[in-house]
Amino acid sequence: MLPNQSPAEAKTEQADLLFVTYGRHGEAPAPVIAAATPADCFHMAYEAARIAVKYMTPVYLLTDGYLANGSEPWLVPESKDLPAILVHFRTDPENFYPYSRNENNVRPWAIPGVPGLEHRIGGLEKQNITGNVSYDPDNHDAMIHLRAEKVKGIEKDIPLQEVYGEQSGDLLVISWGGTFGAVRSTVDKLRRSHHKVSHAHLRYLNPFPRNLCDILKNFKKVFVPEINLGQLAKLLKSEFLVPVVQFNRMRGLPLKSTELEKAIIETLSKDPVAQIESAVHGKGAK
């Protein structure tokens, strides 16, 4: 989990999404989630721990400077209301295989100190099931797929994406992280003036919620405001092959509602084809 995404001057931005999604040696996917509001930081930290333990994987939790410096009323939870994070530690040496997997493709938790479960983990590829060091090319290919499937499979265990407003319409604004407040208030304002605009704020970025593809297809245009040069936009385009309109500002400050509003209205008024062409040619929606 990364703490604040911190540019040198420690101002708010969202420039580490691609880094945490792809910034590793080899094919080694890891889940990425992001908090939407200051209060949501607690829940998403808890969620990160749940996923990490249940799926035996590092989890990246993204927050940003705006969330760290922001505040909101938050009902302090009772510990008894927090869902238990259960972990089963293997103790039975009978038929123990360190690289066997459960229904979620997760290996057994066999921790040092337990007699009969001695085994080795680490950087060299292991034979599926047995965990022996393996140089077999087909085994390596299979293991790469297994690890990818494990992370992809987490989509079954996270909430479906919710859409604020109508489930279809002229334009869907997709945001993530600390821009939630600015984007939601802008969408509210536009909706009050009868624009057919909806909002989806993503808290799960890898894997994406499993209904996200269908949601995207229900809107004529997809508008993605970010405090970076289009990192979520890049992920959405490559994952779902949908054209998106980007809105990117990197001033170390939160997005401004007035600017967003203007850009969304402009996007709504443009011919979709021209819109995409202008996006492709790098002019964005300025």
Binding site: G116, E118, R120, G123
Partner: protein, 354 residues
Amino acid sequence: MADIKGNGGVAPAGAGAQTKKYAAKDFASDQDVRWCPGCGDYSILAQVQRILPELDVPREKHVFISGIGCSSRFPYYMEAYGVHGIHGRAPAIASGVKTANPDLTVWVATGDGDALSIGGNHFIHALRRNIGLKILMFNNQIYGLTKGQYSPTSELGKKTKSTPYGTVDYPFNPVQLALGAAGTFVARSMDRDPKHLQQVLLRAARHNGTAFIEIYQNCNVFNDGAFEILTEKETKPDHVVYLENGKPLIFGKENDKGIRLNGFTPEVVSLKDGKWRVNDLLVYNESSLDLAVLLATFSEREGFPTPVGVFYKADRKSYEQMLAEQIESVTQKRGAGDLDKLLKSGNTWEVSAN
């Protein structure tokens, strides 16, 4: 918490538990060993497997953690828990394992590149913290796994694949570095001196806190003979001095040479010409940091023998001991932790219904 002098860094077998008697082969895993034929690593592996049965620690309580490099394949060959970790980061992983599970005996297998270059930062801080890790650093003065580039211990001017005209880097002296980083057990041994290596390994295993052993290891493919003068029968006696606590520093083919101190300056003297006798020689004291620091320079001093053995050993509380003590004392004062109280502490308030 165990008494600091108790059984040192070695985990107890558990009250009433009958420790199984092991043989060296019980610690050999069934994985194919993939080091080059003739590699010094085989000897280090064999000596570790030989001494483990003497420790009275159940096999499942041993964890071997490594970074990247030839040396770092070590955990695969041990029938124990093992983690082949991230380049240079074995001390970080091992620190977590030991802190969370103080009853485990945690070993770190690393090399000169992994420990001193890629992981230099982790290495010095593990030593400073005196966390209960046994760090075995296989020093072959070369990057072997990547086929022969100069390492942070390669001698100045060494020609390698990455330095065709010789290095222009001064090397680290690992013993000096470990002493400077406040290590509490700093030793050196050699792959080709199995008996000595076993003794040093046993003492390291029983040390409370971080134990560091620099092990001179011959890479017979990319840096063959780097330590030949120290390991070959003919040359060894005149070039190696064994450090033994409470004993004078004597060396030479006929035990005819010694080290004496002339003020702060060490001198190599002959015991043959009648001028100096054994009583005039420096008696080694492994609890003296001053002597350790002085002796650490010998391997680079012209005309001086290279010391092997325990340079320095200090009794200091380990990180995990102090952590446990702190938790205990704070718990006694303030009671066991309460998550709900913690959540409601600080700037929280209640909104009432009316």
